[in-house]
């Protein structure tokens, strides 16, 4: 499985990830635009608008019917934050031609459809249609409001607000309801222009056969656009450490409390240099061999769940737990005690090996999923040699205990967010 990066224009790269395990072909566009409080709401809504209709399919019923007749081609999109950027993905998965009952080339049709959604949307006189924008605005606002329904992820979102603002990284991925409510068909048009003119673009194709002519079409399309000020997809500004930990407490109508703890990290960015942080986080609060699971959850029974995850690109770690309100302070102490154990190298050889095995096993599994491969190659930008999951496995296996301890030492408690039940 070899991959070569094919330049398709200024700040546009394509990769064909050849893989013969799947009955499907996946084509995916990844766009990177700077995160900004001003543009976030429009930029994050754009992929939803682009995948709901186009010039050729002016309404979503027509578009959905087309997708259904392409044997259930799956069109999907997503917005997420990555370092200092907003990462937008628009992709399609379609079954391979050999399965088509009518013998037509469905992969080519699906690929053309995807391209036309991006380059040929339903716009007129410098604006999208009001009706389409209104619909997508409503759905986005409901998505933002709905965040509170799942208290576990809500507690993490609130923690990130408190940790990062005014860095736009602290804003919820889809913006605020107020920001979205102000959007109109013209601001969305500007967002589309911004996407075409200045986003860094990565196009991934995962499948057994390359869809003929795809990269040529894309080259032609991008050549027609004046592209300037291309976003640096790797740009990231890490969190500054805090002298005094910020503590925020809120009360909701719940039976189980949530406690989220945010840590700044000295390790950040991407690639092999961040792997010690990946291991440190996993040994601290990842698998069933981790400190938080074995000690805080199982032995001390202080939490219903308690785990750690790190966002290496931006450089921070979050511990999420479900607790009885009265235990909040005890949990904080216990978590910090376990972290200092990792920092001092007080963890067993067993945990280190188990962690390496779990991480390398899941890296191997990337080759078994086109969606996972797309995610991997959509966020690996090296110009020289793109890191493969295979190379990452080797790098993980070579990391020493000292490197892990050092990465852990770079973690400092920054913000604590408590979501507790209403007082009796």
């Amino acid at each position: 499985m070899s991959q070569t990066v094919v330049p398709l224009g200024k700040g546009v790269d394509g990769i064909f990830i050849e893989n013969h395990r799947f009955n499907t072909t996946l084509v995916s566009f990844h766009f990177f635009l700077p995160l900004s409080a001003e543009n976030l709401a429009a930029d994050a809504l754009l992929p939803y608008l682009l995948t709901s209709c186009s010039k050729d399919f002016p309404d979503y019923t027509a578009l959905n019917k087309k997708l259904f007749s392409l044997y259930g081609a799956e069109l999907s999109c997503q917005a997420s934050k990555r370092g200092d950027n907003l990462h937008l993905r628009i992709s399609i998965v379609v079954i391979n031609d050999k399965f088509a009952l009518d013998g037509t080339s469905i992969v080519k049709k699906a690929t053309n459809l995807l391209t036309s959604l991006i380059f040929n949307p339903s716009v007129k006189n410098g604006a999208f249609s009001d009706e389409d924008v209104k619909r997508e605005k409503r759905k986005t606002m409901e998505r933002i409001e709905g965040e509170i329904n799942d208290k576990r992820s809500f507690a993490k979102t609130r923690l990130l607000n408190e940790m990062f603002l005014p860095d736009p990284y602290g804003i919820f991925t889809y913006g605020t309801v107020e920001d979205v409510s102000r959007l109109d068909s013209k601001t969305l048009y500007s967002a589309w222009q911004r996407l075409l003119k200045s986003a860094y673009v990565r196009v991934n194709v995962v499948g057994e056969k390359f869809p003929e002519g795809l990269f040529e079409t894309l080259k032609e399309n991008f050549a027609k656009i004046e592209r300037n000020d291309i976003t640096d997809p790797e740009k990231t500004t890490p969190l500054k450490t805090r002298k005094e930990v910020k503590v925020v407490e809120e009360r909701y109508n719940v039976t189980q409390g949530k406690l989220s703890m945010g840590f700044s990290s000295e390790t950040y960015g991407q690639g092999v240099k961040t792997f010690p942080l990946l291991l440190a986080t996993d040994i601290f609060g990842g698998g069933p061999y981790s400190k938080l699971f074995t000690n805080v959850r199982e032995k001390q029974s202080l939490c219903y769940y308690c785990s750690a995850s790190s966002v290496r690109q931006k450089g921070f770690m979050v511990v999420s737990s479900g607790i009885d309100d009265k235990n909040a302070e005890r949990v904080i102490d216990a978590v910090l005690k376990e972290l200092s154990a990792v920092q001092n190298g007080d963890f067993e050889e067993f945990a280190l090996n188990a962690s390496k095995k779990a991480i390398t096993d899941s890296l191997n599994a990337y080759y078994d999923s086109s969606v996972a491969l797309d995610a991997w190659y959509g966020t690996n930008f090296s110009k020289e040699e793109i890191l493969t999951p295979e190379a990452a496995i080797e790098a993980i296996n070579n990391i020493s205990k000292e490197e892990i301890m050092n990465a852990a030492k770079g973690l400092k408690l920054h913000t604590v967010y408590k979501l507790l039940s209403q007082e009796e």
């Binding site: 309404d59 997708l67 259930g72 709905g146 039976t255």
Partner: protein, 422 residues
Amino acid sequence: MEQKVIKDSLLGEYTYAVLDNGLKVFVMEKPEFSGVYAIFGTRYGSIDTKFSKNGEKEINVPEGIAHFLEHKLFESEDGDAFTKFAATGAYANAFTSFDRTCYLFSCSKNFEENLDILLSFVQSPYFTEQTVNKEQGIIGQEIRMYLDSPPWRVLFNMLENMYEQHPVKIDIAGTEKSIAQIDAKLLYECYNTFYNPANMFICIAGNVKTREVLYKIKKSIKPCEKIEITRGEFKETKKVKSNYVSQNLEVASLLFCLGYKEILDSNIATVKERIVADILLEILCGECSPLYRKLTDEGLINDEFSSEYFVGNGYSCFMIDGESSFPERIREEVEKEIDRLKKEGIEKELFEAVKRSAYGDAIKRFDSNESIVMGMVDCAINGGDLFQHIKALKEITEEDIINRLKALDKKSSVLSVINKGE
């Protein structure tokens, strides 16, 4: 041992074997894949609260006991199964649903070792008063946590009002009261009944060799007498307790779940009945349907809107759920659309598109070892083979859909709503 290879010209083949003790084994070799996904499971879920074995007297057991047993089985005398899997790098888990309990792992290295662990802990029950007491606390907490979960509540409130007798209406984990009645003796009773190989299955897909897998399984299954299980019958009619139920919880927007109860001729739905139900729901309210368009354009639904054919031993229900400030309006529009379809029939183009999409979905399932294995589990429980879906799909006609519309009867429907508030 009975063994056969089942083939499809495009999708490949797999082996289905039944050991002398009745254990069903499914293996699909996927040599091009890195990993393997494996399940050791039993046809035993939350609805199996009434049963008899070998023609003995029927007994009733506390609700939630299948789930409780699953929790306990992960612990054995010589340490936690989780810890053993952790040492190999595998991902391991277990789940209990209405009609099955499954123990699973996925890995890309050390498959043999992982299979040994799986085969061993599922066959080594170890329950004492002390560990049972501890688990009652942990599961009690899990049950309380679900009381906070709006999507969970909206579903079970609907089911509670739809079913008079059938235990599908009870939370899979049971209630705090029901699990308090569980003790070690009862756990052994259920284990010895439902964890008999004749009631179990092993399903594996990925980078494995069928011959080696079968050899290992045969060697590792402990000898035991076949048991005949008779599952309790729960008499249900088309009648529902109430057509409407609501509860107040802290939510951003109202949640609803609209269910239509159906009584099938036999306890287990046929493949055709399942496919027709799926297609019917797509035509009624799927993303290409006129109803979906109307509800979206009027601002009544969002991306959370979905439908599902909810079916198992002794229950069958068409379910439509989502977020909406006007659940009553949705019910009205669904009723209108059902009436329209009954009168005007189905648009040919839509029917063909939905069928094609269902065919594509069936092909896509073979891209993942996990979904192949989940398909095998369905075959183990409901019968049939992995490729039957694709074959049966081709035979479905518009008439089949129209005929099935009769099942959607207003009088047998329940609308469950979660309102905002304390």
